[in-house]
Amino acid sequence: MSDIKEIQDEIIEEFSMLDGDMEMTINYIMELGEQLPEMEASKRTDENIVKGCQSKVWLMAGLENDKVQFEADSNTAITKGLVSLLVRVLSGQTPEVILNNDVYFPEKIGMNRFIGTQRSNGFAAMIKQMKLDALALSTKTNA
């Protein structure tokens, strides 16, 4: 798995090619969402919901070879695309890397501009949850 900074810079580069065009940006985000595997219905429980969005986001984390594997889904196509970006950046990293690195790409790709302040708070809630999951899993790797 690539370096957490490299992946973020890659995303920033991809979005810069969209030139700030809203329709192209949403199209791209939806395409990314389509590539994210659908979560099994049995995992889309209230327990796995991340609070703070107008749409529903489900998130699960597990350890595989000391790396955190995230699984996520949403009931809206655009949110699912946005969530897939976080999975791309954070999944496959060690808990330490997740905890010790900033997730700076949302601001750089102008997330505020196209999802609005209230929902980017939802995005922040998602990042926070992913870091908390990493923290919980880090105790298992050290054990």
């Binding site: 065009d21 809203m22 329709e23 940006t25 949403i26 199209n27 939806m30 107008q54 749409s55 009931n75 809206t76 196509a77 655009i78 949110t79 196209f114 999802i115």
Partner: protein, 411 residues
Amino acid sequence: MSITTTLSIDEIRAQFPVLDQQVNGKPLIYFDNAATSQKPKQVIDALSHYYNRDNSNIHRGIHTLAERATSAYEETRKAAQAFINAPEAEEIVFTKGTTEGINLVAQAYGRKFLKAGDEIIITSMEHHSNIVPWQILCQQTGAELKVIPINNRGEIIYEEYLKLLSDKTKIVSAVYISNALGTINPIKEIIADAHKAGAITLVDAAQAAPHEKVDVKDLNCDFLALSAHKMYGPTGVGILYGKRLLLEKMDAYQGGGEMISEVTFAKTTFNDIPYKFEAGTPNIGDVVAFKAAMDFMSQIGHQFLHDHEQRLLDEGTKLLSEIDGFEPIGTAESKASVISFNVENIHPFDLGMWLDAKGIAVRTGHHCTQPLMDIFQIEGTVRASFAVYNTVDEVAYFAQALKEIVSKFRK
């Protein structure tokens, strides 16, 4: 007296500076009028004139500016009286908006006169602002909240309302026009039947006032609340109309300046209505500018507003119905210019985001009517709501845009 406008829609639009802009590289189409309407230049000018020339605290001031500000403030009260055909100007209480008006009645009337075992009736399509104040009152007094059910078109089931009425019913508080469905309720009948049962009535006219001629004498309601910002006026201003006898019987709502007659440390006597309910320095500038909004509506005329908006509603309903998977929510026979809908297998959030990308402002979500969404077993809707400055062309562009968006999801 109704004045029929001779203005074209283009001339009306020209009075709204905010409409003349691009959003995401597309001309702005503003279809979120049920949330708040845009403001014509005369309202913006009135607000600006007040702060540029007349600003002063009102009442009790003896200097010229205080006199001008007081007079402008009271002119709005008289204009509001005429606008809703209230018998007396003293029956007009300025509030922050409809929500505050309802809370005022719940607390200043309800808390004084309701007791355990009494009942309050509302409809299934109330905004949270006409649910929560009564729930609070019920907790305080032991009264009980009863809800009139609706059919699948989003109309109240009138026989069920009649069954709920009894000598226990003390207050019937109903929405005139539903913000989430557009349903126009038979409010005059609702009031008349409430009175037969001996209950007093409150009308939530937040969505009705921008579209219909609201006449409190004709409705014979006891209270009526509305918000200026949905009627082309400023935010933070509303009106509570109440019949004099009821307002006089009520307790004060909040304590402070303006609402008193005399204060000693031992005892306070309260001012007369409406000042008894207007504690503290009010939102003077916005109240003053609200008159310009009512003038704007009167100049256009209610008939014109109604006819134009109905045309947009009819056209919109027709064009949207052709879209694959279109599911209208709220199909009442008597309906205001609101189209609330879902599209099969597409989340309202996705539709709202896509429409915004195309310059079209709509609202998505539960519209502060969660119990109503539960009845329809949906999370929310997309809501397009029209105002006098919207055009048939905009409606057609919107329908076309939606069709294109839906096709992206139907690959």
